[in-house]
């Protein structure tokens, strides 16, 4: 009798599933329409096939290394990366010796010493990448009022960050007819509002790669975005590897629990209930 009643309930669940599917489709459509107003929010970046985006994909560490070179040779003149230390590069895109040597090339203000004085010393692995400006006011003063944001989290701090940064770096062009851009700003359709204070920075051959890769504009953009993605999510390789192992194990555990449940419930499922009237 119980089974009969439950099977009668089935059409309701079908209707329910249809409604749920419609609702979910609606929620999914939200992502598309949320940024419909592209003049205000900037042109939506196309989706690029980042080699590290896959479920089982890790970063291209050669690309991180080249991206670091793009950052130091181009971006670092205006943008800080306060969350990244030289030690973070070790084992990711440089050896410990290489990272130590790079750190030695910067001057760090330390102190106070025994006499109460601040002093300059060569950088160490534990030092942050050097910031181009002393503070936000200094940065704004040097950039005509615009503040170059810190890049440590940039790919996580923008909608569709990797594609956005990549498109932005390569998106400079002449403003279309009828649009004038204020002095000191540059037309870039991917930037919200279309006028950005950062000039076009990447040019063919503008960076020298130590692995001899031809430094085209697009190559630089791709490498620096890979580097910035790593900087924003340095745990990604470890995270995906751990997740793959964990979910693989959990899937086997799941099958075991299903079997265990059916085994324990077998007596209940195979019983016969007889409703009889006494007397």
């Amino acid at each position: 009798m119980l089974r009969q009643l439950l099977s009668r309930a089935a059409p309701g669940w079908k209707l329910g599933a249809a409604t749920l599917a419609a609702g979910t489709a609606g929620l999914a459509a939200a992502a598309g329409t949320a940024l419909a107003d592209e003049a205000e929010h900037g042109l939506h970046a196309p989706s690029y096939p980042w080699p590290h985006d896959g479920f089982f994909s890790s970063y291209d560490h050669r690309s991180i290394r080249r991206g670091y070179q793009v950052y130091t040779q181009v971006c670092a003149t205006c943008h800080s990366m306060d969350l990244i230390h030289y030690r973070d590069l070790v084992g990711v895109c440089y050896t410990e010796e290489e990272a130590k040597e790079m750190a030695l090339n910067i001057e760090v203000t330390d102190g106070p010493n025994d006499e109460g004085e601040m002093f300059e010393r060569p950088g160490k692995l534990s030092d942050k990448l050097p910031a181009p400006y002393m503070n936000e006011e200094h940065a704004r003063y040097a950039n005509g009022g615009a503040y170059p944001p810190d890049l440590s989290l940039i790919t996580k701090a923008r909608h569709d960050g990797q594609n956005y940064v990549f498109s932005l770096l390569l998106g400079y062009r002449e403003p279309p007819a009828g649009i004038t851009v204020r002095e000191g700003l540059y037309y870039n359709p991917y930037f919200p509002g279309g006028a950005i204070a950062m000039p076009k920075m990447l040019n063919d051959g503008g960076v020298e790669y130590d692995d001899g890769t031809p430094a085209t504009e697009a190559q630089q953009a791709k490498d620096v975005v890979t580097f910035l993605s790593w900087a924003a999510e340095p745990e990604m390789d470890e995270r995906k590897l751990m997740g793959t192992k964990w979910i693989a194990v959990l899937s086997l555990v799941f099958l075991t629990t299903v079997y265990y449940k059916r085994w324990k419930w077998a007596p209940l499922k195979s019983r016969r209930v007889i409703v009889d009237v006494v007397n």
């Binding site: 439950l6 309930a9 929620l27 329409t33 949320a34 969350l83 701090a157 745990e235 793959t244 979910i247």
Partner: protein, 385 residues
Amino acid sequence: MKRLSIIKQPVLSVLNVHLVDYPSPSNINYFWSFGSIAGICLIVQIATGIFLAMHYTPHVDLAFLSVEHIMRDVEGGWFLRYMHANGASMFFIVVYIHMFRGLYYGSYASPRELLWCIGVVILLLMIITAFIGYVLPWGQMSFWGATVITSLASAIPVVGDSIVTWLWGGFSVDNATLNRFFSLHYLLPFVIVGASVIHLAALHQYGSNNPLGTNSTVDKVGLYPYFYVKDLVAWVAFAIFFSVFIYFYPNVLGHPDNYIPANPMSTPAHIVPEWYFLWVYAILRSIPNKLAGVAAIALVFISLLALPFINTSPIRSSNFRPFHKKFFWLIVADTLLLSWIGQQPVEDPYILVGQCASVFFFIYFLIMVPFLGRFENYLIHYKTR
């Protein structure tokens, strides 16, 4: 000498009665597992939260950096934080399914009114806890979300502004606000634990409802082993679902603006709450008047609390309520629609759609619930006459 029986000892005997030998209806389906999954979510949130608090600094200058310190420098810190941040979303998914299950099968109906009402109180506590927890990383959405939501209190006549100042501990959302939010965010989960124990006590007064909605005393089986092995399947399935978010899509449920440090001088283009608040946020925004909007939110929770008392159906399960079943799926769709509207800009057609969806929300709870019970009852008697 009599052999010592563990299950007859003080405390242990209570645990045995409620958590081991407890008789449960044999026919409850997997939707009944969401209660224990919600309990697991609470434990996960408290456990990860305690460890996160060991590394977090509630200060406006350091909060954002201390979260990044957890993400980068603390061993396994990213795992703890992603588990906690996504755990909040999981908790709400689970609790919403748990509540819709109660709505579908009439689990709120007499004699389980108190059980449902305590559940609504837990939902309210969860909403407050999740909201103040979202403020702690001190990103742009933290700051501006806190500003917008706490400012709602200013809609209260006469004392509104004083209440807002009192909430903030100053004249804007600032360090004092962050500190008290951190303190409360640590306190409230334990209040939820207490409320959950009362929820369980209220449940065990009359026992679980079941998919037939009938008295199930004739056919009950022990919680152990039957529902432990059954819930175990659900727990592991849930763990897999949860893990996919933690390991592969840890930021998909968050907003990118919260990776920008809070800046009181720069307002984000759109201030959007976390996804699990969007349905109620849509109701709030569909009314142009601030006080009326806040009153509408109050009415949402009043409707939920009133539900068991205005319900007129003598039949619990919607399996046997053809009209209510349709309306149940409409209210599910309506809630999803409101959640979508909640993240759209305030412009047409979203305003009108949101207003219609909000009106339907209240029509369901305040008109259809009392009406459909009588109507379906009338049809039954009409047919048998």
